[in-house]
Amino acid sequence: MTASTLVAFPHTGSALRDPVLVLPVVVAAGLGVGWLGADAEASGPRFAIDVALAWGFVGTSLLALGRARWRRTRILLGASAFALLAADLRWARSDGLWTLGFLLEALWLALLVHFVLTFPEGRPWSRLARVAIAGAYGATLGGQAIGALLDPRPRDVLSFAANQRLADAVDRVQGSLGVALSLVVVLLVVRRLLLLQGAARRAQAPLLAAAVLTVPATVLWLVWVIATGESDPTFETIARGTALLVPLGLVAGVTWSRLRQTEASQLVVELQTEGAGSLRERLARALGDPTLDVAYPLDDGRYIDAAGQPLELPQGTNRAVTPLTARGEEVAVLVHDPALLDEPELVESVRATAGLVLENERLAAEVRSQLAEVRASRARIVAATDAERRRIERNLHDGAQQRLVTLSVALGLEASRSGAATSGTLSRAQDEVEEAIAELRELARGIHPTLLRDEGLEAAVEALARRTPLPVTVDGSVGERLPDAVELAAYFLVSEALTNVVKHAAASEATVRLEREAAMLRVVVADDGRGGARLAADSGLAGLRDRLEALGATLEVVSDPGAGTSISAEIPCGS
């Protein structure tokens, strides 16, 4: 897990104390003074450009320091600045310094390739990138070293095997190698550009694009070397000048990210005025990371999303986890693309402006989570009640009812066997027992209807309709069997509603309609009675409302005086 803290990075104060950065500054200053006494061949414009380049590199190194993941790159940027100036040692009066300048002439190119191909974390992007970096050092440092051995010029103190033709050939090989490496660099950079996404692309693309743009000037210079066997000062200066595009690309990337940050702040201001429902989406947009997730901590250490659903924080390195804190307390956790770590200011600005909204959202998520738990617990209670009802019905049937039935048949048998004197008494006794059985049966049905369990809702509702002492029409269909809890709730609703029709409505007929629409069961019981019914708090229907709500169902009673009563429920029933 990659975690970052939202502390702003220290600014330039510590950067100026960085020795890597101070070194080229010292060299530049020394050369500035030394140029006055430099060789007559020394080119003023060329030197001015080199000093500007060195300062450009040093300045952008300071920017790279602002990003934790980019800090290692400052060494290469500083070294490039140093190498650019070191090449100008060739104008020094001392032959030793001239030779050193010759050796280091093209080193800046290798350092620049190294910088680009390891940007931003300081590790080569791939094995091919590693090979290209090694090749660049070989072609520049190695090539110049061999060149120094062969170069016949008198100022070359290393000229132990002077040979002009061989020296020209080495120059050409060096140039060809440089062109080949340039093409590899273009290939690697373009591939990298296509792979990058979101925040990383924003921050790095300008630099990578600049790296590609510098290649034509470098290739032009090298092709000239291949063609003529020697370096043309104009082409070389152009190549060195375009190299400044690379640090400028770095600046552009940082600036672009900063602009996005302003945009993010505006978005977050918007967040505070509008509803917070889509906070995640707005944050994702603000941070430019569509994969962003917002997790809210619970007291017990678990995390939930905005809807209150449990959420696991990812393990591993392909997702980064950034906790957002307010007053030392964790308010939310952003789960995001690790590239966002390149823009800590952006995340920080979101935290600063969205803190309150996030805190509200966390509280809302917590309530939703608790609500979901309460709902689940209510559903479990209803399910447990149903199981208990089923058990009681079964016990009534298997126990008391069975015995009473046997008693009733036995009494009937004895009545038929005995003489007229006792048969009347026995028949009356049998009638009483029959009455008890009927009452018990009705009670058992009210507790848990067997027909519903065995045959489903339609059959059970039709049986209810038949038993109702009033014409009841049942229409509609529910298709296949529904979950037990749904069937029971619908059945009890119809049963209670029909009981009310008989007791209170003074209706001449009633209708029951069952409709299944996708994941919703709609139940309507309507009568043509006097209307004016209310959902009294102590009524049987009000008791049913709890059962319905446990299923996420709605209950509606329409009962205008004189216009009959219609009771309808919509019960979610899965797909």
Partner: protein, 116 residues
């Protein structure tokens, strides 16, 4: 002409009363069974003319027995239950039984009306 009757019910006291009731009316009780397995074995062994069959049995329901016997061209089946016909919906018609008598209304006359 139905003569020999098999009584299938898991409640022993009920079987005893039913036996007396049928015997009083001149039927011969070919056997008694307390569950589906026993009932099917008894039908095979005693080949009764009719079966007085409780719907709710411990190992399965009486409907499956009635369906199986009907399919095999077996004896006439009269279903009985301490529940109402209403509690079983269309299953009574569908299983191929001759008819249904609520247990508390069981009499030789009601039985005869269905099997004769």
């Amino acid at each position: 002409m139905v003569k020999r009757v098999l009584i299938v019910d898991d409640h022993e006291p009920f079987r005893a009363v039913a036996r007396q009731l049928l015997e009083d009316a001149g039927y011969v009780v070919a056997g008694e069974a307390a569950d589906v397995a026993e009932a099917l074995a008894a039908v095979a062994a005693d080949s009764p003319d009719a079966v007085l069959l409780d719907v709710q049995l411990p190992d399965h329901d009486g409907f499956s027995v009635a369906t199986a016997l009907k399919a095999a061209g077996g004896p006439a089946v009269v279903l009985i239950s301490s529940r109402d016909a209403d509690d079983y919906g269309r299953r009574i018609e569908a299983c191929g039984a001759r008819g249904f008598i609520p247990k508390s209304k069981l009499s030789a006359a009601a039985f005869a009306a269905l099997v004769e």
